[in-house]
Symmetry: C2
Subunit: 387 residues, 2 copies
Amino acid sequence: MSLTASSTPQGFSTFITNLGIRDTTEDFVFLRSDVPCVADGVFTQSLFAGPSVTISRQNLQNGQAQGIIIISKNANVANGAVGTADAEEIIQLVAQETGIAAENLAIASTGVIGRRYPIEKIRAGLVGMGQKLTSADFDLAARGIMTTDTVSKIAARQVGNAQLVGIAKGVGMIEPNMATMLAFFFTDAAISVNTLRQIFRSTIDKTFNCLSIDTDTSTSDSAVILANGLAGEVPEAEFAGALQEIAHELVLKIARDGEGATKVIEVTVDSAANYAQAKRVAKAIVNSPLVKTAVYGADPNWGRVAMAIGKCEDERDINPDQVVIRFDEVQVYPNTFQAENLEKLKEIMSQEKVNIHVSLNIGADVATVWGCDLTEGYVEINGKYST
Amino acid sequence: MSLTASSTPQGFSTFITNLGIRDTTEDFVFLRSDVPCVADGVFTQSLFAGPSVTISRQNLQNGQAQGIIIISKNANVANGAVGTADAEEIIQLVAQETGIAAENLAIASTGVIGRRYPIEKIRAGLVGMGQKLTSADFDLAARGIMTTDTVSKIAARQVGNAQLVGIAKGVGMIEPNMATMLAFFFTDAAISVNTLRQIFRSTIDKTFNCLSIDTDTSTSDSAVILANGLAGEVPEAEFAGALQEIAHELVLKIARDGEGATKVIEVTVDSAANYAQAKRVAKAIVNSPLVKTAVYGADPNWGRVAMAIGKCEDERDINPDQVVIRFDEVQVYPNTFQAENLEKLKEIMSQEKVNIHVSLNIGADVATVWGCDLTEGYVEINGKYST
């Protein structure tokens, strides 16, 4: 999609360029609001979180921000004190150039771990950037934050008179916990910091935190939202609904662009004792390499789904005799096999999005998670990347 | 390896045949001791454990057994009441044919989930089997329990005057919890049931329970040991040492034969707060698809090891500034990079067994776990198997 002028939130500007961090594609994205914003951010729980995460977490604690710096192709993680100093220097340089207080800036980085930024190139490239800001180009920003992504990920909705846009990136090292690889949301809606936090966190929890490409949690996961208020107040429920839709759309785009992926897998577990149980079982299924390869092979091998449920060994209230497994609406366990179903099942498994539906028949809670199939492409990409 | 007559424990006999369960290779193995044995078994924790597991768990509770039935190419899992009836019927048939009490028989099954045994063929094939037992051929038994294994797995040691032999199978759906896919140990040593249990369970915990091919826990994992006592008593420590060596050898054979695997990965985490922490961190590393593909690509990408440590989010006492990461003896983090190391690292990563060594520098506990690389071969095998 491309945003039109009328679907772009008011009062944002961007500076997007190549600083030569790894190659010649865009690798530096700065997004500024003309006025201070109500803001929130959620970040990776990784013990090896980099300085971009720790600084942004600190700077967003007061619920205010006016700009975000996003560096792609280098994660600036596991670089020790020099990595922290580099991140702080970049924040200071941007603050000086733009006149925004350093503590009102967030920063995010994505790319290879354990390699220092080419800091000389970044210093040189930022000179005069304050003068180079133009009215916000979110499409270009979505492309500028890509690493090995094959498509850019952007989604937008109108809420009352306000616009809400989200951009995201990520293809591998993705099982976010508290946030995804990188996702940013911008709106000109006016909203209180408490309402924003409550809506944002609950949305992330049901969308990005329900996504897993390969069970590997990134050191750099960050999701940030800025609301500058220029379009005035909007109905809260409508805002929450639009944010949920955008986040869901971005999650599906990430799953579809998963490294080597050919299909999206959506797993819904219902009638669970509680939401946490439903999500644990759904994650066990969507993360199983044997389920993922079965989906790749379009094989309705429900035995692997049973196996994945079975390995949730702490969920002792799950009774295999009460569990029901379906691919789309076709029941496969308990085995009510009818010959005409096999053709139907092969069709279902060949779709671009494969739905696995499990009923635990214990309680009333439900969770849906997303992932993708596991193909030779994932192995090829990750056997070669880096070093 | 092949066992010679002198390395075979006394007083065991076997009946190994093809019953046509899936194809024309051996699929039925029966091992009998001439006299009752002290015995122990540990089994999968899967919620979807099949009747073979539940019956064997029950029958071994008193620490006695005289024979084991092993059926390969069909797991008899998730078949409901008919699956349980089939397993019970097979036990009864073997009991009648051999004169061993049904409660002194264990049974194990491995293969596809959710398909019924061809029970008519099994009934026909077992007629007269009691007359067909010959002196034990453990090499043939090791081959008879294979499914998609490419090599048979057997190991043996002498302990005093006694012999100890172990056979195992497994290539995928392997992250055992309390036992591996299938492993069986036979000895003519005399040992008390309490000592055997203590030694057996601690050995399995440090060997098979430290193995992961693909994070997928089988519904059929079983490890059983039979000691018939015919060779008399042996030094306890020596017996424990020999069992540990055999189990370790079988674990490495399984890792090496992991589906599509080209390399074994051994991860040691030391100076941990406790053993459980060391094992959790080591498992996170050996299970990371990004670490596995890096090993496949012979890429010394230690950033992925740092990422995998980082995702152990509950281990809040791990401080990234104190962690040390090495490939073999070469330190890669904190980054003390020297040009001559790169060649050395590429050499290390190209070996058949890649050692990843992490020091947490918190306490004194250490754990070692084993796995294998992730290749296109794994995807090919599992995208095609079944249905």
